[in-house]
């Protein structure tokens, strides 16, 4: 009986765990706008007010959201748009156009995309996508027709904004900003970029038309906040079906956040980067170790994960290929020439060494100049990790590299 009960328990456990994994993985991998905002409340307020004014009052605006990668720019705008759409009077009043500099690589494609997203193609009939010039004048005419009080505001969201600045003449940006500064259809132009020097990329007439509103996202939180984020990210929501399990899990998370070794790991991670995405990566790796037999995240898991994260990619390879180096160093007497050449080529393939010039057909391979793409410390580290290293390699390393 008790056996059966425990089995049942196990089953339930497994179910719970799979659910936990699903929830948390979704949280770590998708940038869903449901998650809470960390430390960007001021910026968020600025943005949402701006959008509201566009939606409700028909005021044209332009703004750039600037911040390093992983600082939550897209999350911020998604959050704001979601909130905006929840306001009844605004949601019916808004057209959204999402563009990405990586997808719309020139103005022509961008214009087509805008036309498509604004559903203007109906008006053009079978002449949906005419020439570039027609498209431009068509779109401009469409936007020009409107005025502040009557036409529906359009929100343009330009992801990877800096790439749009590289388009020829910056025609698209000029026109979008120009519309935002004239009494035409109300628009909000929102650019997302990670480049701090974005304004220098804009032509002066484009720059003059941009309103110079910038929202900076800088990951300006400190370590205590970082730990709090860690806690929040890992804990289960209140609406989790199995209340008992959720409580236990959350308790465990609380314990984790107070554990010394965990804090050390987190501190180290924090020092490397304040990027929330890297935290997600760390948590993801730890989460993957959670199984039915090992139901809660332990400090050891996190440490392991951290090690995985911060592993030097080259060190791995290096210790595998130490023997080749050894052969290279001692080829004079140890091995046949073809063997050495083969080893050498292998190194080149792994890009541990690299020819200085482009390999020309003329020069003999034996006499090519090569660059070593390894640091001495890396070699030393690799040697230490590699237990069965031949002693002569070790000797070579200590003798020839130590002087450096």
């Amino acid at each position: 009986m008790s056996n059966r009960k425990s089995k049942n328990n196990n089953l339930m456990h497994a179910e719970c765990l799979s659910q936990v994994q699903r929830i948390l993985r979704a949280r770590f991998c998708h940038q869903n706008p449901h998650s809470n905002l960390f430390g960007v409340q001021v910026q968020y307020k600025h943005l949402i007010e701006l959008l509201k004014r566009t939606a409700i009052h028909g005021e044209s605006n332009s703004v750039l959201i600037i911040g390093p990668r992983g600082s939550g720019k897209t999350m911020l705008i998604n959050h704001a748009l979601k909130e905006l759409m929840e306001i009844g009077e605004a949601s019916e009043n808004i057209l959204q156009v999402h563009l990405n500099g990586l997808l719309q690589i020139n103005d022509k494609i961008a214009l087509k995309e805008i036309t498509r997203q604004l559903n203007l193609e109906n008006a053009v009939g079978d002449k949906v996508f005419g020439s570039f010039a027609e498209n431009l004048s068509f779109l401009l005419e469409a936007l020009k027709k409107g005025d502040r009080t009557n036409s529906c505001p359009v929100i343009f969201i330009l992801d990877e904004f800096d790439l749009f600045a590289h388009h020829k003449n910056q025609t698209l940006l000029y026109n979008l900003f120009d519309i935002s500064q004239t009494a035409q259809t109300p628009v909000s132009v929102i650019g997302l970029t990670c480049r701090l020097d974005i304004l220098e990329l804009l032509e002066k007439r484009v720059k003059s038309r941009f309103s110079h509103r910038q929202i900076h996202l800088m990951n300006s939180f400190g370590f205590p906040q970082y730990v709090k984020i860690f806690k929040e990210q890992l804990s289960l929501p209140a609406e989790f079906p199995d209340k008992v399990f959720a409580e236990k899990w959350n308790e465990n998370v609380q314990c984790l956040s107070e554990d010394r070794s965990v804090r050390e790991v987190l501190q180290k991670h924090f020092n490397v980067s304040k990027n929330l995405r890297s935290l997600h990566m760390l948590l993801m790796l730890a989460l993957n170790r959670v199984t039915a037999s090992h139901p809660f995240v332990t400090p050891a898991d996190l440490m392991e994960a951290n090690q995985l994260c911060s592993m030097d990619s080259k060190a791995n390879i290096v210790h595998e290929f130490q023997k080749f180096i050894q052969r290279k160093a001692h080829s004079v007497y140890n091995f046949e020439k073809p063997v050495v050449m083969k080893a050498f080529e292998h190194l080149q393939q792994l890009e541990l060494i690299k020819p200085i010039e482009r390999t020309s057909v003329n020069s003999q391979r034996e006499y090519q100049l090569m660059k070593l793409l390894l640091d001495n410390t890396q070699i030393m580290n690799a040697l230490q990790k590699y237990p069965n290293c031949p002693t002569d390699v070790r000797q070579w390393a200590t003798s020839s590299l130590s002087w450096l």
Binding site: N93, A123, K127, L136, F138, K204, F270, S310, A315
Partner: protein
């Protein structure tokens, strides 16, 4: 009868003559417009001579005449009398000017041509400035003209610019404008246009316009002949013409027949539309006749006769032709027709029946054509319509694809046997619509398809028989067809004309959907201020630009008053009010034009940044001037023509070219043209150009371009702080939203930075927002203080680099330190990653941080690079990639030291 015979002869002669002329390849250019024949016409030589005795005008001391005779290469004469409507050569050969001839006289004072004519102009809708077209309040009919009630317009023209007579029908205000007619040569006048508004014709005017129509048939007949000859030299035979007329008639009556004259011949061919069908018919009929295959002809007769009763049976409210006229006509016709197949007779009869509002001369015209045909039949064999398109047609018809046919709706006007019943119903329906005035467009467009699909089925057997012919044909055929269509326009009708545009809503007016909820007005002082401070708000006056305004205004005004042209170059850094000032000037002038202080003018604006390519500027200018669409090259030609030839009723054009530097091309041909047009006396073009750089003409323009631009320059200086202050004050007027100190602060700050008024307004706007946020209690908006403005200024102008460095992670800061250390060590401003890495490791060891691995450091480096704090080579170089700082070293030190 005798006179008729004579004129026939003339016709024939003319006909031959022109078919000869047609062989000239240059004539065969595929002009797209239906008026292609003017091209031909322009190439033939005319001689103009007076007819009749001169009458000496006592008052004016020159001799006036009643009639002028136009000889075309000596083969035929066209007599045009005073009081007739004429076409007058214009810059647009597809749309010559229309005018009423008031007086013919000889003036020795004129150097170029002594034969002068005084005319009363009519304007087409396309000649009305685009900006005023909306005043009409409806869509203009295709053939609608407007009595040009504008005395300032020069009505004295050279008599030698007269192309030929034309029909103009005056319509009473309550009459419906004919919409669907194919008649290219009958125009309708309903309203007058005096550059300000459309007004109905006064009764006297109406009476006067109506009169000449009844005028001398004698003189119109040759004209008819002439146009016919010119237009349809090759395959347009009378029978064809008659048939077409008949067909069109039935169709036009039912009001649904779309115009067969589509702007592009290509389209027509693709669609397998009537032109194709018509061709085959043309080519075939004569051959049938000559071969004497009775069966086929009979079939036709039968078919046309079947429709007859149906046609007759239903009421035609426009059938106003007087029975007295019809009687003799018929007899004449019968005589003539003997030689022809009976089918023609039948159709002819039908034609007569359906005729509406036919002036007497029309009947004679028809009989002319009739007599012509036997000869035409002989000639026809040489020019043959294409048959290449035929199989396609047939297939389509067989399939009866509704869509294909729908598209081909620019098509068949045939109604026959089987179709008769169907069509009868349709026509009735249509007539009901007609009576109701406007009917639904959709309905109108859809109906013909059904008709075609029915009628086409019986035409197919005949068409299959025709052997394939040469390729060249379609073009000439379509042309012929066009001309025949033109002839057929003699059918006066009230049926509306469909627009020549194909189905594709090429010029569909796009629109962002309108908002569902009204935008609320500003609710407090700050919101009001924000609204007024928005750059898009157009102020009533532009403070601080009075001098510039005055200069530009007087420049344009003087050009307008002198009827000359000129160029002006305006430069200034962005945000100094260049475009706004020019807009203000134009607004002022437009108001002045309304009160007749300056002559009216047309205003066109193009922006270099809103073009995809410099040559597109032609397309835009042309479209804004005339509403036409054309390719860049064609547009350039048309514009050059427009600006280089004398326009009789032309008003001055003011062209604003914004962002001129974008129009630079390797050959600078665009700029050259823009500045060259105004130098022509006839152009009456004022070009205002705007760019940012003051020395643009010297820097990028060739000598010949900059010399044409001239030396009328103006440069807008950046605003000074007092000017900015004044601008802000004028925008805010009596609104107390800002502290005075705050306004002064922002004005000084912006003036010191750029003098860009946009910046100034944006900062103030942002400051109002900050003020609103900081307000604890909503509803009691305070003043925007200096502190708020400082915050806004900081937000917009402070460098973000320092904050970025301060907020970066420990390792990133360490890496920056390592870079500084490495720079100091090497004394260079650049270092490789390897060097920096070793420094970094040393630094970490000193500070007791864990040992950073290579991969981590690399990630840090690329992160900093993506923010552009560092300038980094591509990561392919791995350890050897070179790193540079994008910020000054002092800034980095400052940012790192703070903590």
């Amino acid at each position: 009868m005798k006179t008729e015979a004579q004129s026939n002869k003339v016709n024939l002669k003319l006909f031959k003559d022109l078919s000869a002329a047609k062989k000239n390849p240059s004539d065969c250019q595929s002009s797209t417009g239906p008026m292609a024949y003017y091209l031909t016409r322009l190439k033939t030589r005319q001689t103009y001579s007076w007819v009749g005795k001169p009458l000496l005008d006592q008052k004016l001391h020159y001799q006036t005449y009643k009639e002028i005779c136009v000889k075309i290469d000596g083969c035929s004469d066209i007599h045009i009398q005073v009081g007739q409507f004429v076409l007058i050569e214009g810059d647009d050969e597809e749309n010559p000017y229309v005018a009423k001839l008031i007086e013919l006289f000889e003036d020795d004072g004129e150097p170029r041509s002594k034969k002068r004519a005084r005319v009363q102009w009519f304007v087409r809708f396309c000649e009305i400035p685009v900006c005023k077209r909306h005043l009409l309040g409806r869509k203009p009919a295709e053939q609608e003209l407007f009595w040009y009630d504008y005395p300032a317009c020069d009505s004295n023209v050279s008599a030698e610019t007269i192309i030929g007579p034309v029909q103009v029908v005056a319509l009473a205000p309550d009459e419906v404008l004919p919409m669907d007619l194919k008649n290219e040569k009958t125009f309708f006048v309903k309203l007058s246009w005096n550059e300000k508004s459309f007004k109905p014709l006064s009764p006297e005017l109406f009476a006067e316009l109506d009169k000449p129509k009844e005028g001398s048939p004698k003189c119109q007949k040759p004209i008819e002949a002439k146009t016919k000859g010119v237009e349809s030299p090759s395959s347009a035979t009378t029978e064809q013409v008659v048939k077409r007329i008949e067909l069109r008639h039935s169709a036009s009556k039912s009001r649904q027949t779309p115009r067969a004259v589509t702007p592009t011949a290509r389209k027509r061919l693709e669609l397998g539309s009537v032109p194709g069908m018509a061709n085959t018919r043309n080519s075939q009929q004569p051959s049938c006749d000559s071969l004497g295959s009775p069966g086929r002809t009979k079939k036709k007769v039968a078919s046309s006769e079947v429709t007859l009763p149906s046609k007759r049976s239903h009421p035609d409210r426009m059938d106003t032709a007087s029975p007295t006229l019809r009687g003799p006509q018929k007899t004449g016709k019968v005589q003539l027709i003997c030689t022809q197949g009976e089918n023609n007779k039948a159709s002819y009869e039908r034609h007569r029946n359906l005729r509406t509002r036919v002036p007497p001369l029309r009947s004679t015209e028809i009989s002319d054509k009739r007599t012509l045909c036997p000869v035409g039949g002989g000639q026809k064999s040489s020019t043959v319509p294409s048959v290449i398109l035929k199989p396609e047609n047939i297939k389509k018809r067989e399939a009866k694809e509704p869509e294909a046919l729908n598209e081909a709706s620019s098509t068949s006007h045939r109604v026959r046997r089987r179709s008769s019943l169907l069509t009868l119903n349709r026509i009735r329906q249509q007539l009901r619509f007609l009576d109701n005035g406007k009917c639904d467009q959709e309905e109108e467009e859809f109906l013909p398809t059904a008709e075609i699909s029915v009628s086409s089925s019986d035409s197919e057997q005949e068409e299959v028989a025709t052997p394939p012919l040469t390729r060249r044909a379609p073009r000439s055929v379509s042309r012929n067809l066009r001309s025949t269509l033109k002839l057929s326009l003699e059918i006066p009708s009230k049926t509306p004309q469909k627009t020549p545009k194909p189905r594709t809503p090429f010029r569909a007016t796009p629109q962002i959907r309108s908002r569902k909820l009204a935008a609320p007005g500003p609710s407090n002082v700050l919101e009001e201020a924000r609204l007024r401070l928005h750059v898009s708000t157009v102020p009533e006056s532009l403070p601080c630009r009075e001098q510039e305004f005055q200069d530009i205004y007087s420049f344009v005004e003087s050009k307008l008053l002198d009827h000359t042209g000129g160029c002006m170059y305006i430069s200034g850094v962005p945000g100094t009010g260049k475009t706004a000032t020019v807009h203000e000037v134009i607004r002022g002038l437009q108001q002045a034009a309304l009160t007749n202080d300056v002559p009216p003018f047309q205003y066109v604006e193009v922006n270099g940044m809103k073009l995809t390519e410099p040559h597109q500027v032609y397309v835009q200018i042309l479209e804004k001037l005339t509403g036409q669409k054309a390719t860049a090259n064609h547009a350039a030609e048309l514009l050059a023509k427009r600006f280089r030839t004398q326009g009789s009723s032309r008003e001055t054009t003011v062209l604003l070219v914004d962002e001129l530097d974008l129009l630079w091309t390797q050959k600078q041909d665009v700029m050259y043209n823009l500045f060259d047009w105004p130098t022509h006396k006839e152009a009456r073009l004022v070009v205002l150009t705007i760019a940012n750089t003051m020395d643009l003409p010297e820097r990028i323009m060739m000598n010949r371009v900059s010399s044409r631009l001239g030396l009328t320059r103006m440069s807008f200086q950046p605003y000074t702080h007092s000017q900015l202050q004044q601008i802000l004050a004028s925008r805010l007027k009596h609104l107390k939203a800002f502290e005075d100190d705050a306004i002064q602060l922002v004005a000084r700050k912006v003036a010191a930075l750029s003098g860009d008024a946009r910046r100034c307004l944006d900062i103030c706007r942002r400051a109002t927002e900050i003020c609103e946020f900081s307000q604890q209690k909503p509803g009691s908006p305070g003043l925007v203080t200096v502190a708020h403005l400082m915050e806004a200024l900081d937000e917009m102008f402070s460098s973000s680099y320092i904050t970025a460095i301060r907020n970066s992670s420990v390792l990133e800061q360490g890496f920056l330190r390592a870079i500084l250390a490495e720079f100091r060590r090497s004394g260079l401003e650049e270092a490789t990653f390897q060097q920096i890495y070793s420094q970094h490791v040393a630094l970490c060891r000193m500070e007791g941080l864990p040992y950073p691995t290579m991969s981590e450091t690399m990630a840090v480096c690329s992160r900093l690079g993506s923010c552009r704090l560092l300038l980094v080579e591509s990561s392919r170089n791995d350890l050897l990639l070179r790193v540079r700082l994008n910020v000054s070293q002092d800034d980095v030190l400052y940012a790192l030291k703070e903590e």
